[in-house]
């Protein structure tokens, strides 16, 4: 079975010389959900930005059988949908409807067709009532859902989510979890929230200084690198406010 994503020996250096990716090999199969774990600055976001050609490194990156080259960018960007960490930057159109319809319009659909796709996607994420609203009137969770709708409207085969639980309160996180569980696409989830990841993914990869140092079941990886949210110790009353500094 041809892998959905195939990355071989990927290197990437930023303009200021930082070696962000130092030889990555990675494979993703249809329907898989993989958690991308690792410390801040270890290369997770840099890596995912290579998959749709926003950043271009050295090595081979193939998405759904298409190598990431200039000619294939339009097709690849229809196949990979990316939900960025900052929803404020992702919802850049004046209204929700216009934003969600942005992707379909770029795919060449007519305005009527784009609006149809947009409305469907908004229904899918439960945001159909926000059609005419301006993005800055929405809460963080609502913005996240609209951003997801904007991506789903393009009918991608792979979803990439960069830190999707940022700014979400616990109910918001649960909401998002249920939503993502229903979606059939293959998913790559960059996150620090291991519990959230474990509820969606069975496989995880661990980034360390631009390299993939582990690839396996998520519980194993979390334990090996001490990456789980372990229960905190009980509040120690010796450190109460009465204590003088």
């Amino acid at each position: 079975m041809t892998p959905f994503i195939e990355v071989r020996d990927l290197h990437f250096q930023y303009e200021d010389g930082t070696q962000a990716l130092a030889g990555i090999d990675f494979t993703l199969h249809a329907g898989e959900t993989v958690a991308l774990l690792g410390a801040n600055g270890s290369g997770k976001t840099t890596f995912v930005l290579q998959l749709n050609g926003i950043l271009r490194g050295q090595g081979s990156v193939t998405v759904c059988g298409l190598p990431v080259t200039k000619e294939n960018l339009a097709a690849i960007r229809s196949k990979i949908g990316m939900v960025f960490q900052d929803s404020e930057e992702q919802l850049f159109m004046p209204t929700v409807l216009e934003d969600v319809a942005f992707g379909p319009l770029n795919q060449g659909l007519s305005p009527e067709q784009a609006i149809e796709k947009a409305k469907l996607a908004l229904q899918q994420t439960g945001m159909e009532l926000a059609l005419g609203k301006a993005p800055y009137h929405l809460s963080a969770g609502e913005k996240r859902k609209v951003a997801l709708a904007g991506v789903l409207a393009m009918e991608p085969e792979i979803l990439v989510l960069d830190e999707p639980t940022t700014f979400l309160d616990p109910p918001g996180q649960r909401n998002l979890l249920h939503l993502l569980r229903e979606l059939p696409q293959a998913k790559l989830i960059v996150t620090h929230n291991t519990r959230f990841a474990a509820a969606l993914a069975q496989r995880a990869v661990f980034f360390e200084r631009g390299r993939l140092v582990a690839d396996g079941p998520i519980e194993e990886i979390a334990q090996r690198f001490d990456w789980a949210y372990s229960p905190f110790p009980d509040a120690d009353l010796r450190y109460s406010a009465q204590r003088r500094f």
Partner: protein, 236 residues
């Protein structure tokens, strides 16, 4: 914030809100030009203009007190110049400045209070405004509130760290310059983030339009009727 309130007003659903933005812009321009060329003592004309404005506010369902109060923001400026003209013996001009500037401000408020800015921009574009400027304004307005909030946070943070030690003016000045540089950098990188988000959704160089405006018979009637009214009012 002022523009947030006006933004809320513009989301209404009155017959005036429903009019094509191009019709409203044309009527506003006729109103402003007629007003600008009206003599300060043409009481009939000015009363009719004021009456039309009040009628517009009521039809639009906007809070009359709120709108008329906001229009008063122009008065300190115009009354100051009016005072100078009055003292110079040109009493007519003084009165004219005050009443005409107030009516103009109220008229503009009525337009933006019944037309969401993105819609107004589409109307201006179809009336000949260059697309580049329209898109620029759209993005500016979209991020105006976001970045203003960031600026407030920076001010607050700086104030929190000021303490009681009276720092000299130079360091405060430099601190403010640093804050501006930070705001600039954040805005710039935000724009990069927006760019990446655009690319990720297959942006290929041109923004496509979604909501074509349709100038209906009602809009034509509206424009014609008000144009005639305003010109007739101007005649005496």
């Amino acid at each position: 914030m002022h523009h947030v309130l006006v933004d809320q007003w513009s989301q209404g659903a009155s017959p005036l809100h429903a009019r094509d933005p191009r019709a409203k812009v044309m009527v506003l321009l006729i109103f402003l030009v007629a007003l600008a060329t009206t003599a300060p003592d043409a009481a009939v004309t000015l009363t009719i203009d004021a009456a039309l404005l009040v009628a517009g506010i009521l039809i639009a369902g906007l809070p009359p007190g709120g709108l008329l109060l906001r229009a008063m923001a122009i008065l300190p400026f115009s009354l100051t110049f009016g005072l100078i003209s009055w003292l110079a013996g040109d009493r007519l001009r003084a009165i004219g400045l005050a009443e005409k500037s107030y009516l103009s401000t109220a008229a503009v408020l009525l337009l933006v209070g019944t037309t969401p800015l993105p819609r107004l921009l589409s109307g201006l574009e179809s009336m000949g405004c260059p697309r580049l400027l329209v898109l620029l304004a759209q993005f500016l307005y979209r991020y105006l509130f976001v970045i203003s909030e960031q600026a407030q946070h920076l001010r607050l943070a700086a104030a929190c760290r000021e303490g009681r030690a009276r720092k000299n003016r130079r360091s405060k000045f430099r601190a403010a310059a640093g804050a501006l540089a930070v705001l600039f950098a954040r805005s710039y990188y935000r724009a990069e983030g927006i760019h990446q988000a655009m690319l990720a959704r297959a942006f290929a160089g041109r923004f496509a339009t979604l909501n074509p405006l349709r100038f209906r018979a009602t809009d034509g009637l509206f424009t014609a009727a008000l144009a005639v009214l305003l010109i007739l009012a101007r005649l005496p």
